[in-house]
């Protein structure tokens, strides 16, 4: 990427302030116009389908809008919806569920993914098979994965109980999807299965960027493998780990497909995530005003989480970017 001074000059040239009308200036002018033109369709799409609707959601969150009745009045209620949010037990429950699921699954994915990545970071026979099988849980439709796990967890005919009984780990079948404290962990288990491979893949890509010479040097200096991991691998992997964590955390916060299909938030509201609760407020209660408030809150959570990660990430990504 060019220096900022160069960029500034070009930008000034673009707005015609510099008055450079030489060959170079004209070329840069043409480039800037062409660049804008080529980027325009993508920018317009994002503007029309994401930015403007987001503004509309924010506006809706200040109104009372019910779609239950065709011509119901839609009065402006100011911040009333937000006040209601602060005393909404269902919202805090959804927040707790989302927080627990996010923390537990992302932490497990990171540890498991790291172990897997470290172990398969070498060339061996059958690497292709491992790579392809890693991609299966990632590529699998989440809705389909949810159905698969619902069948595996089935209380009577489920293979999970059958295996655990055969291995004599339990003597009574576990009813996975009926007791709240069991169900949420069953859901977290399915989420970990679906996303750990992807985590391992990203971490593996990061590991492969670390030159082997570094490990040889630390070994000559008398460091153990354990020390090498903490002193060499982890610091060098920090940007990769943070980027992977960022995307996985955001995905977990946005979780909808899995709880919707596996448990539909149940039993009770014990697995109702923030997005699922918001969705139900929109399309079951048909309450589009308060639903918009919940949607804005979800959006702010995502912004907050990514802001923290990007803050921590700071310098390293700036350097890594081309």
């Amino acid at each position: 990427m060019s220096t900022s001074a160069g960029r500034l000059t070009r930008r000034l040239a673009f707005v015609g302030l510099l008055g450079v009308r030489g060959r170079r200036g004209a070329q840069e002018h043409a480039d800037a116009r062409l660049g804008l033109l080529m980027a325009a369709p993508a920018m317009l799409t994002i503007l029309l389908i994401a930015v403007i609707p987001l503004a509309q959601t924010i506006q809706d969150s200040l109104f009372q809008i019910s779609l239950k009745f065709e011509n119901a009045p839609r009065p402006f209620v100011g911040l009333d919806n937000y006040r209601a949010l602060l005393s909404d037990d269902s919202w805090f429950n959804a927040l707790r569920v989302t927080g627990l699921v996010t923390l537990a699954s992302v932490a497990a994915e990171l540890v498991l993914g790291m172990i897997i990545a470290l172990l398969i970071n070498r060339s061996f026979r059958g690497r292709g098979i491992v790579r392809a099988s890693v991609l299966v849980p990632w590529a699998l439709t989440t809705v389909v994965a949810a159905k698969m796990w619902a069948w595996i967890y089935d209380g009577r005919y489920g293979v999970a109980n059958d295996l655990l009984m055969r291995l004599h780990l339990i003597d009574q079948p576990i009813i996975f999807l009926v007791k709240p404290e069991v169900t949420i962990w069953a859901m977290i288990g399915a989420e970990i299965w679906k996303t750990t491979p992807f985590m391992a893949l990203l971490l593996l890509a990061g590991l492969q960027l670390i030159p082997n010479e570094l490990y040889e040097a630390t070994a000559l200096d008398g460091a153990s493998r354990w020390q090498a991991f903490w002193r060499v691998t982890l610091p060098l992997m920090k940007p990769t780990i943070l980027v992977a964590l960022l995307f996985r955390t955001i995905d977990a916060v946005r979780m909808f497909d899995l709880p919707r299909v596996l448990t539909n938030g149940g039993p009770g509201k014990s697995t109702e995530t923030v997005v699922l609760y918001t969705y139900n407020t929109f399309f079951t209660s048909l309450n589009f005003g308060y639903g918009s408030t919940l949607a804005v809150a979800t959006f702010l959570i995502v912004v907050f989480v990514s802001f923290i990660y990007i803050k921590v990430l700071g310098a390293p990504t700036q350097g890594a970017r081309r």
Partner: protein, 301 residues
């Protein structure tokens, strides 16, 4: 763990360390490693395999206690059952249509944008980069209300466009990241010589750059297609007519051909396999490309 042994061996000179590691420890490590690899592969594939096995059982043998693991004899009755359902056939067609159209449009829009990012300096470039990153993390729920009402007002519900547009938007980030990485790796000299020969910049783009970046375009296409094929939130919201549902919605609401007392797990698992099959085939054929595309997108994001 083997920490103490390692400390000794790495402290010693490399040659001494080699002789210390006898054939037996090497063999032991090798076996341990492959035990781990096999366990990991089983972990990844077991749920899919179990679904496949279930789908090949006749309805009577699915609900047996204790479980019989292998379908004996294998039975395709579940597959015939689901393909006899209009809803399911429609769902496959709808998913294929929506995902292909979204992929194609996203590729066209995205490749233009990626080229501009990779090669040209233009105003608002940083704003654009920030927007693209924001879309990658954007929660779809934050826009679903207005989109639902707007599509209703425009009569777009149950119209393919109502799914294609959001899918294009949310596949754009990956498309732009993968293609920007590919375009910036291509030497700029080729285009420059084409322009010396009288091509305009746009001509150089689609006559020289796009064909050269074909592997990248193909990689992006696979990733976008998988993402669009798997989309659920919008598909569930904007489509309500049975003949307009996509595969993900159809399977989430699956009730089977006859409303028997048992939940139709045989047909559900069969439908799961059919819906997943295109993805598994793509993964098996193009694993290298997919991994390089994924990591390019994530590491450079």
């Amino acid at each position: 763990m083997t920490a103490p042994a390692n400390t000794v061996s790495v402290r010693a000179l490399p040659t001494a360390a080699l002789s210390r590691r006898t054939r037996w420890t090497k063999l032991f490590e090798g076996v341990g490693f492959y035990v781990f690899v096999v366990a990991f592969v089983i972990f990844c594939l077991a749920p899919f395999t179990w679904t496949l096995l279930t789908s090949l059982k006749s309805p009577a043998t699915i609900f047996e206690v204790p479980i019989r693991y292998l379908p004996n004899p294998p039975d395709l009755v579940n597959y015939f059952g689901i393909f006899a359902l209009d809803r399911f056939r429609w769902a496959l067609v709808n998913s294929a249509l929506v995902a292909s159209a979204a992929t194609a449009i996203s590729l066209i829009i995205g490749s233009l944008c990626a080229y501009a990012i990779a090669r040209l300096n233009f105003p608002f470039k940083n704003l654009l980069l920030a927007l693209v990153l924001a879309i990658a993390m954007f929660p779809g729920i934050a826009i679903i209300g207005p989109l639902f009402r707007q599509f209703n007002a425009w009569g777009l519900t149950n119209n393919y466009l109502a799914l294609i547009l959001p899918n294009v938007t949310f596949t754009l980030p990956i498309c732009i990241w993968v293609l920007t990485a590919f375009f910036s790796e291509l030497p700029a000299e080729l285009e420059e010589s084409a322009r010396v020969d009288g091509c305009t910049r746009l001509q150089a783009f689609y006559k020289i750059t796009v064909p050269l970046a074909a592997p990248g375009v193909f990689t992006a296409a696979i990733l976008l297609f998988i993402q669009a094929w798997n989309e659920f939130l919008f598909a569930r919201t904007f489509m309500s007519q049975p003949e307009r549902l996509t595969a993900t919605v159809a399977i989430a609401q699956f009730e089977g051909a006859d409303f028997a007392a048992q939940y139709p797990w045989g047909q559900i698992t069969a439908a799961s396999i059919v819906i997943t099959l295109p993805l598994v085939v793509l993964v098996l054929l193009f694993q290298r490309r997919i991994i390089s595309g994924l990591t390019a997108g994530a590491v450079k994001g």
